[in-house]
């Protein structure tokens, strides 16, 4: 921050005013809270748990079912389309 190059005596008097200090206990409490927030921010997100064998099987079965359903839908659509005049 740069100082104002002004000979204004009133502003100079303002600059000489005694700065009030916050209570030490308050500052310590705020620092602790901020450190807690920083620590929370710095922690890596919990890794996704690895898939179990059973879960993989269920996922696979669902994918096959969706694929079969999709193929049947397309086949039915083609069949109806072929009958149209």
């Amino acid at each position: 921050m740069t100082m104002v190059e002004s000979p204004d005596p009133l502003l100079a008097e303002l600059a000489r005013l005694t700065a009030p200090e916050p209570a030490a206990a308050h500052s310590a409490r705020v620092l602790a809270r901020c450190h807690a927030v920083l620590a929370e921010r710095g922690q890596p997100r919990a890794a996704r748990p690895p898939l179990t064998r059973r879960r993989r099987l269920v996922d696979g079965a669902l994918a096959i079912a969706v694929a079969v359903y999709g193929l049947m839908t397309i086949a039915e659509a083609l069949r109806i389309a072929s009958r149209l005049p």
Binding site: M1, T2, M3, V4, D8, L10, L11, E13, L14, A15, R16, L17, T18, A19, P20, E21, P22, A23, H26, S27, R29, V30, L31, R33, C34, H35, V37, L38, A39, R41, G42
Partner: protein, 194 residues
Amino acid sequence: MDRESELALVERVRAGEAAAFDTVHAAFNARLYGFLARLARSRDIAEDLLEETWLRFVAHAGQLHADTRLGPWLFTVARNVHITWCRSRAMESRTAASLDLWPVPVPSESPFERTAGNELAQRLERALASLSVDAREVLLLVGVEGMTPSEAAGVCGVSPEAMRQRLKRARVLLADRLAESEARPLVHLREVKP
């Protein structure tokens, strides 16, 4: 703090380094407190607003631009926190007044009047506390904090020219209030019987 050190510090703050945050806190805590205490005219309220300012800083530390100037950034946040508080207080006052349950608080004298070291400082604190928030914040940023009018304009979200005008008006008001206070003695001597 020179610009190079400030840029390096900003980089460390962005990375979430606690030691860097401590450095920023040590450099600006008392200044922000003084600014907020004189704006709010209360030490207790200033402490609450100061806490909110630091928590916002920590919450947004990762999103700071690499070329952020910490002083203006922090004073902008502190000013915004104070504005939010003023709005909520105004709403509470209006509600209380309409319900006629509690008396609307009358602005009391600044706590700094009582602690000001000398008579001129005491008069200055009193004159400053009697001004509107708009006038006070300009004088605090430029006069007390030593910002240029352009930097103060950035903090208050106005153009540098508008800030120069505001500073001029605020300075005249402060001088008037100071002159008025000179006419009234601060210490009233009373006769004591022997």
